[in-house]
Symmetry: C2
Subunit: 382 residues, 2 copies
């Protein structure tokens, strides 16, 4: 399942602390010049690796991605840029590629300088370890994720392989979370850029765990160009890989006990549908009610109502897992709260909200909000 | 402390269920025509009492407010309007005032019809009970509040008395939560309207518990006109009463263990400062970090960064309870995370965020997010 040309490696560099023993630094190497494209966080506070990566993808060509978890290298000023460049330069020198052909990706705590010395001392080990262990690599970018996120699709003769990390600070209107998509298809950088920009619209940009958009969100795609394949075939599979990674992130949302799909239809345009869907997806009252299987549908309609989308209350219809909950803006005939309580015990919840007769529609993906979310996020760093 | 002309009453009407024994229906009666003004929820889904109240305050005169907790009478369609009118008409008839002189206020679960018969059967008891028991009245509007919210100020010779309920579904850009402000000063309805609209800007509209704006938010002010007093004197005290009620709501925020003040300065205008402050105030990652005393300031800067306000990262300065945390967009010289961890053990947290040299500023008030919030809101109705 590895696209031709790519090698992987992962080590422990003690990035969280010298005592930390998990994999926290990883490398992807391509044995020839690959096309590269990327999408980056919409947060105005951009981490050093984001600023560097945004610049490097403009060249259209790359050879390496060096990743670390445990430290975001964000809000670290010019020192952060220098630190990231020191690491990418060391990787480039050791592998005999250009300094501008190594893209850094970081995730973890904001505001602390990278432990550059510890990372530099591991570059040789990273190089020596290059091989086919994609599982080790996938673990090197995990933070609060409970499992690694890998997705694979065959695209005709070409292969598409993706990695991502979750599991908090996930929100709409971001470029994406930390993710890498590799293919051995021949794809021009501009085409690759176009494919990933389209692919994130209904995938990474349709998910929300907690409404917080990170400083480090990045998706990098590399195409090694070993295999001639129809681009539209490859595009479909790249989209599928990105979609699967996005859903893995939702399923592994911090503390999540349910996966929740929110389909809004009937708006004037898709953008309005997205605004309403995300308003419901990010409502704490909706998310806690879902956690508690509380058949309190009023919270859903209220969250749609305070979004900026124009709403005619009497046109609203809501179903949950196919069960009619609201019609004409009021409780549906025959609605029974015990029935809805039972339905909400499912781990997969599908909410449809029709707001009128327009052709706009958008499907958002989110989770419930549990005690565990609070536990994880009240003790992340200390 | 009761403004001249007003009488109060509260009963148990079994509104949550026939078995429910707490006070859940209340009445305020003015023995002469009072000036009236109101501000109402910005949610497009407006409860029946909101729609009725918005209409009634236009007359400028009122005699009664009839309140209930346990049922919001929202998303109840035309039946909801008829139900509310049946209750206000019965109150009006019994008290000998006009049908358009009784304003209904409801709070509680959305989507269930009012138990009109039970409420009508209590109107006589409400009338008979009219007196000076403001504490009983204040308890009749409580839902998940842990204590009643009453505020009083002397305004020269006049008195100002306010009531409010919290404690969830509290968010910015709303008119306000459920609140009543009474004064015996002589105030024209238009002037009263102007006073409360100005008063909510930096009070009710500056607080957020969970980012959810209710379908029922209403603030009604009545002025009985018994006392001649300088309007500017009364205005100051009305603002103070509203401010105190708003802060009581924050302190009693569902599951809150801390009160958090977020002052944003240096933006181009106050509106931008409010946008940035509310982005931080509503960030789950910030709120859970505050709950856990986690010195993870990166979450604050990230939340400012994903607001729509233009930010120059290198100009950001952050202090927490006076302690310098961020300067020039990076960790402040001498910052120590153990010191910040100790500071965050305070129950009152004051965060200042300077975003530049502009004159815009806004102070928002919020709480942390605890296990208890999840507990309360995952089991509200069932």
């Amino acid at each position: 399942m590895i696209p031709a040309g790519f090698l992987f490696s992962a080590v422990n560099a003690g990035i969280k602390s010298p005592e930390h023993k998990g994999l926290d630094m990883g490398l992807i190497y391509c044995d020839k010049d690959a096309s590269v494209a990327g999408v980056f966080t919409a947060n105005q506070i951009k981490a050093a690796p984001v600023l560097i990566g945004m610049d490097l993808v403009k060249t259209g060509r790359s050879r390496c991605i060096v990743v670390n978890s445990g430290n975001a290298n964000a809000c670290t000023g010019t020192k952060g840029i220098e630190d990231a460049r020191a690491v990418t330069a060391a990787v480039a020198d050791r592998l005999g590629v250009g300094h501008n052909e190594v893209i850094p990706l970081s995730t973890g705590v904001i505001g602390i300088g990278l432990p550059v010395e510890r990372m530099l001392s591991k570059v040789e080990e990273l190089k020596k370890g290059l091989g086919d262990d994609i599982h080790a690599f996938s673990r090197s970018i995990m933070t609060t994720d409970t499992y690694p996120k890998i997705s694979f699709r065959q695209a005709g003769n070409a292969k598409v392989l993706g990695f991502a990390k979750g599991a908090g600070m996930i929100a709409p209107n971001m470029a994406t979370t930390l993710a890498v998509v590799l293919t051995d298809a021949v794809i021009d950088p501009q085409v690759l850029d176009n494919i990933i920009r389209k692919s994130v619209i209904d995938t990474f940009n349709a998910i929300s765990i907690d409404g917080d958009t990170s400083t480090n969100d990045t998706l990098i795609a590399l195409a090694s160009g070993y295999v001639q394949e129809d681009v539209s075939t490859v595009e479909i599979e790249i989209h599928d890989v990105i979609q699967e990674l996005a859903m893995m992130i939702v399923r592994d949302g911090e503390g999540a006990t349910k996966v929740v799909e929110i389909l809004v239809t009937g708006t004037i345009n898709d953008s309005d549908a997205k605004t309403a869907a995300m308003s419901v997806a990010n409502s704490l009252l909706v998310k806690t009610a879902l956690f508690g299987c509380d058949p309190n549908w009023g919270r859903i309609i209220a969250a749609a109502g305070y979004s900026s989308v124009h709403i005619q209350p009497e046109e609203i219809e809501i179903t949950i897992n196919g069960y009619a909950v609201v019609r004409y803006g009021v409780e549906a005939d025959g609605f029974d709260e015990n029935t809805l309580n039972d339905i909400l015990k499912n781990k997969e919840i599908s909410i449809t909200i029709s707001l009128g007769n327009g052709s706009g529609r958008f499907k958002a993906f989110t989770t419930d909000l549990s005690y565990k979310y609070v536990e994880i996020n009240s003790a992340y760093r200390t």
